[in-house]
Amino acid sequence: MASTTATGKGTGRRSLNMVLFYVFVVIFVFVSVFPLLWVFKMSIVTKSELYAAPPTILPQSLSGANWTQVLGDPAFQKALINSTIIAGVTTLICLFFGSLTAYAIARLRFRFKSTVLTLILAISFFPAVAIIAPLFIQFTALGIIDTLASVIITDTVFALPLTIWLLVAFFRELPVDLEDAAKVDGATTIQAFRKVIVPLAAPGVFTTAILTFIYAWNEFLFANTFLFDPSTQPVTVVIPNFATIYTVDYGAQAAASVIVTVPLVILVLFFQRRIVSGLTAGAVKG
């Protein structure tokens, strides 16, 4: 743990630093969370307070109407399930193929590495909005329009570049002789990968998993274009539909947004423990 012990100026300096540190932490947390708190307030006040000008800081007239509406909406419940499936499957596929590819690039020897990496990166150069139509045509031909598969595939394609590049960066940090040590013990390339590299690169792997999951969870453009049947749509498509032809129900959208954000945060809370524990997982012996 870093601090100012080197200069030995004493506990006074140290506690000032700690206080400053905690002040900054509190500010960061407040700034990060404030908009969510505001949106939460939007979801629990009456419509007239929602549109009050000037806006009220603390909620004055509470109403649970938005929450009962959203929680009881079967379309929304189904959408939550769809979002989970899309995000979950995308993450697993990306991790699986991505870590294989990244490992090969980072630790094994073969030509064309730069070419491969650049090809993979190339998809990140193209604005998604421009290729919606041809993708749609492609998927229609494949017959997967209106299925979760179309969105999962597209999300995977767009999430793989970051996954691979990130894991390459992480795998490269690991000491070179790890595999050799494992091989001396009789492991194959694949086994060395599974049993030695992956656990040590766990912080990177879990971070990539979280980022990919959140990306797929929040993805809107492809889900909106490829999915027509409401029973296949994820929350990003369903939430803007809390509206009529003439007007938008911001209160309900606010409630839905909170419902959608909180589980993600809990998910990260759960996973971030694993990020830390990855560190303590065995070092090279001897």
């Binding site: 549109y51 599974r194 909106n224």
Partner: protein
């Protein structure tokens, strides 16, 4: 779904399993969706129709059920929900059309989509199934908005027109006996009433850079005697005229003279209505449906603080006394996909949906204004639609279609932008009119 653990292990067998899982889940979900959508009943011989519509209200579901009951064994319709946002909805439809037509048979679409879809050959010419004798039973404005090259391309379903809402009680307090007839009167009344009664804003409207802004702006141009195109579906661009210029000057003066707050440049329906609903505006320009929200509890989406008795409805003001008032036509119609295999069934569905009985149900159950003239004499309808007596004349006589043509998408972008610039003051009325003349002429040239 089976449990699976983290992706370690690179054996070919497991790779295949993942792919199979994807295929299975995709197929399974598609199957489940189809099953769910198929609903009840329907024998092997009945055709499965798909009807698409946005912003679903339970009324549509009820209509679908009724159709299925009445046409059991022949046709079975399912409702496909489209996005509530009009731009996203349009985008989704065009994606399907571009990919070869898609599987939607009947499309519930905005009135301004008719010409655009027709010009690209995406929807069916319904002149044979919807002859003039039938057309006469409907309001003229929605029909005229669907005529392309002499043929009619849809059947009107429900309609809308712009109008002015005003606070009768506040006007009375300020000493005015009735609503304004001219724009100058509106400005005068708004300023004085707001001042005398302590109301925050004189006039609010939808001035943001979107289709609603076009609706607002067009009303100014028409009520000043101007036009954008010399006739609705083709013709010359005539927006560079003294009348249109005067219109834009009036439009700009709303904010410049303090009649309306600067905020109107960012308002749409959702953000302008609450201002009036909170009692913070004397005048509001909006669609007919707003009246039904007055005095209704909040949980039903209403504005309980302002009662219907306090509010009057007036036609859009005109430039000079005696001129004809015009309102932008809104509304949704039934279109038939040109690529449908179920031609006859689709037309049957469209005609059924627009039959007297169904339109009446739309009004009594859904609060939507019918497009059949006779229904406005029906006491059940007038009872179910708050304010419709006051709105009837506007809907019948004042509704005018926006200058829709093949490239209305481009036109709309231009109009929306320039109208918004006029409201914010970023462009002078003169500049706006000149820019519109130039850019719209460009567009019209490419249309030939």
């Amino acid at each position: 779904m089976t449990e699976r653990n983290e992706g370690s292990g690179a054996f070919a067998g497991r790779k295949l399993n993942r792919r199979d899982f994807l295929k299975m889940s995709g197929a399974g979900l598609a199957g489940a969706a189809l099953l769910g959508a198929a609903g009840c009943g329907g024998g092997a011989s009945s055709s499965k129709l798909i009807f698409s519509m946005g912003s679903i209200i339970p009324t549509y579901n009820a209509l679908i059920d009724k159709f299925n009951k009445q046409h059991k064994g022949e046709a079975e319709a399912t409702l496909r929900a489209m996005p509530s946002n009009a731009t996203t909805h349009y985008d989704k439809l065009t994606t399907e059309f571009q990919a070869g037509g898609g599987d939607i048979d009947v499309i519930g679409g905005d009135v301004i989509w008719a010409i655009q879809f027709a010009a690209q050959g995406w929807i069916q010419d319904l002149s044979d199934d919807f002859p003039k004798s039938e057309q006469e039973k409907f309001l003229p404005a929605p029909i005229s908005a669907m005529i392309y090259e002499g043929a009619v391309y849809g059947i009107p379903w429900f309609t809308d027109a712009g109008m002015i809402y005003y606070r009768k009680d506040l006007l009375e307090k300020a000493g005015f006996s009735g609503p304004p007839e001219t724009w100058d009167e509106l400005k005068e009344m708004a300023l004085k009433t707001a001042k005398d009664t302590g109301t925050k804003n004189g006039f609010v409207f939808q001035g943001s850079n979107y289709e609603g802004g076009v609706c607002n702006g067009m009303e100014y141009i028409w009520t000043h005697g101007g036009e954008v195109l010399s006739d609705v579906t083709s013709g010359k661009v005539v927006v560079d005229s003294p009348e249109a210029l005067a219109a834009m000057e009036t439009y700009a003066s709303m904010v410049a003279d303090g009649v309306a707050p600067e905020a109107v440049a960012n308002y749409d329906e959702t953000t302008s209505e609450p201002v009036f609903g909170a009692g913070d505006a004397v005048f509001l320009r909006d669609w007919p449906g707003f009246y039904a929200l007055l005095g209704i509890p909040e949980k039903d989406g209403g504005y309980p603080n302002i009662k219907p008795e306090q509010v009057g409805i007036a036609p859009i003001p005109v430039a000079k006394q005696g001129m004809h008032s015009w309102s932008t036509l809104g509304g949704w119609n039934q279109y038939v996909n040109a690529a449908t295999d179920l031609q006859d069934e689709a037309v049957t569905f469209a005609k059924w949906m627009t039959a007297t009985e169904q339109e009446k149900f739309l009004a009594t159950d859904g609060g939507l204004r019918p497009t059949r003239k006779a229904l406005y004499e029906d006491p059940d309808v007038t009872e179910a639609l708050p304010g419709v007596e006051l709105q009837k004349e506007i809907i019948f006589n004042n509704a005018k279609s926006r200058p829709v043509m093949e490239y209305y998408g481009d036109m709309s972008l231009e109009l929306a932008e320039q109208f918004n610039n006029v409201v914010t003051g970023d462009t002078s009325p003169q500049q706006a009119v000149e820019t519109l003349q130039k850019d719209l002429s460009n567009i019209m040239q490419q249309a030939d």
